[in-house]
Symmetry: C2
Subunit: 357 residues, 2 copies
């Protein structure tokens, strides 16, 4: 059974929209949401847009106990031309299905999911902020809602999309952050769920994050869970290092999330003839490069911040100051190009953006 | 603010109770539930027993996205004497707070939580099945319900207790199961969340479990995430091996759950002067013992099954048949003693059970 027509039930009331300078990340949601149900036997069914509302779930729902859930994160932008555009949304839908596979959640129709996102964004287009750097954050997610305490995949699910207008990540322009390398806690390990975008990975990251923020760091840099030697990710971003003219990012090894921004960065660097390598990279290598004066730049890459330059990297009592704590040239160029493509101020040679109408 | 008085709002309707021979695990819930709220600044407040009902949660609630949640599992038994008793419930409350600590959830008042469980169980005592091996499963859990998409600990929570009458784990007496040693997937790793009873650990176990059940195995035996060498747990149980007269169980290493049954087994064995060791134990060691004819018994230990003898252990293409696929002597004695203490047919020398009244 494949119903492709999305029923729309409009809200009678409209919420007040936050002022442009009051926008935060993920606190305010728009007037409507999208819901699609899954029932064993019937598959995914009943696509609908409804007023933004609370979910009603049996307290025994699997999601509360065994965390069988996946999510995605992408953004809609109002371009210079006044169009509403998404950035490579099909990549998010592909990753959603890869996450589903790992978490024993049934595959979803990617084109229906994307259609739903576009219809919802279009309906809510007045909610998309237009000030520089602002956007509409799109959060598709799937929850398991069978009321059963056995440890087994749920027989019912809901795919839901909610939207949140978000402010500019950098209030005063792109700005380097302080990052602490994590030596005790582990985010993910090969054979675990690190390459899926699933709740448990984020739950397990809270403690380390809490401890380092108390020490003034923005995020932790995660090392591999086996040897605590190789670099994995930084906070909710993939990470890149520029060493002696070459850019290196950890290879996809099963415990790292395959970021859409990561992929775009690699393509851009290749396009610019900057040598870029996906390979194992250890903290020792980074530290040696630093000591030799060859660690030129380091940055995180993810949907939220786009590019997040690393100004200070703390590891084993050492504070490595990278590029004098300033945003590096490649970081800046990547940020400008990616946001330029997203906001339509630069051309889109890869056809990465998609119009919502 | 510490309110210790539990408000009770009784249900107007009573559900039909399942017939003794129809009882499953975790599918049917009683007429009432317990709820306690947490709000930053006010702490835990408003303890109440209410009719069993759906939870109403904002779709942006942290639990759906980042899985910040913990749970416990214990049982109430009707004893031979007609009393309602719990088995070492204070251990579950202590573990709940250890899990809370790892998951950045505020500590809960253990005595209030236990009081709530007792009041709820007492109110629902007609729901406790009395046929041999049946019990009332108690599921306390905490969910994070702040509506916020930032990756950060929630500022609000609910502690909830639901009850489910459950059938005998072994319909025809204690019976050995087939277990497959997992070589690809990993449940938990040191520095991760393995020692906390939190949703993500169970979500990550679903895939391996699904694959082995297709091959006719009841559960997987997890190896350590680092070397895939040392034994960790089996399904949702701790695991014990009897080799040449000595009982060995993996030591608490940060990635294993500290089971209440595990602790009780160790105490009983010590009491019986059976040598018992908590230490690293590798699959190689188990296999060598098997080859040498010294692997006498293997069993899982957990609240659900109490003791689950392992009849066949599959590893690297080898099917090790343990104790001719029969329940071993120690397994049987532990099962009989533990259930005897729980159901009041044996004395309780350790004072493990606690009366509900
Ligand atoms: C753990 C993790 N790594 C990396 C990323 C970056 O992925 P993307 O570029 O698709 O946003 C994310 C998501 O934002 C993430 O949660
Ligand atoms: C992963 C895991 N290991 C072990 C156990 C056994 O713990 P307990 O004996 O407290 O039930 C459980 C819980 O049942 C569990 O979920």
């Amino acid at each position: 059974m494949e119903e492709k027509t999305i029923k729309v039930h409009l809200s009678n009331t409209k919420k007040a929209k936050p002022a442009a300078d009051q926008l935060e990340f993920g606190r305010v949601f728009t007037d409507h949401m999208f819901i699609l149900d899954y029932t064993e036997g019937s598959g995914w069914h009943s696509p609908r847009i409804v007023p933004y509302q609370s979910l009603t779930l049996d307290p025994a729902s699997i999601v509360f106990h065994y965390g069988q859930t996946v999510f995605e994160g992408l953004k809609a932008y109002v371009t210079k031309q006044g169009e509403v555009r998404l950035f490579r949304p099909e990549k998010n839908m592909e990753r959603l299905n890869r996450s589903n596979n790992r978490m024993c959640i049934p595959q979803i129709d990617e084109s229906l999911a994307l259609k739903a996102i576009k219809e919802l964004v279009n309906l809510e287009k007045d909610w998309i902020p237009t000030a520089p750097g602002t956007s509409l954050y799109i959060r598709p997610f799937i929850i398991s809602n069978e009321a059963y305490l056995g440890v087994a995949p749920s027989k019912t699910y809901q795919f839901i999309v909610i939207l949140s207008p978000v402010g500019a990540y950098y209030k005063e322009g792109i700005n380097p952050v302080k990052i602490s390398v994590e030596n005790d806690f582990v985010r993910a390990v090969k054979g675990g769920t690190g390459e899926a975008k699933t709740a448990g990975n984020y739950a397990s990251s809270l403690k380390a994050q809490e401890l380092v923020s108390n020490e003034g760091y923005a995020q932790v840099l995660w090392l591999d869970g086996l040897e605590k030697k190789y670099i994995e990710e930084v906070g909710s971003m993939n990470v890149f290092f520029k060493i002696n003219g070459e850019v290196i990012t950890p290879e996809l090894n099963g415990s790292i999330l395959e970021g859409v921004t990561r992929n775009s960065v690699i393509q851009l660097l290749t396009h610019w003839n900057v040598p870029v390598y996906e390979r194992k990279i250890s903290m020792d290598e980074v530290y040696e490069a630093y000591k030799a004066g060859l660690l030129e730049e380091a940055f995180g890459a993810g949907t939220a911040a786009v590019i997040s330059p690393i100004g200070v990297l703390a590891w084993q009592g050492e504070q490595m100051k990278i590029n004098q704590g300033e945003t590096g040239e490649i970081s800046k160029k990547l940020y400008d190009t990616l946001t330029g493509i997203q906001y339509g101020t630069e051309s889109d040679p890869f056809g990465w953006t998609e119009k919502v109408e």
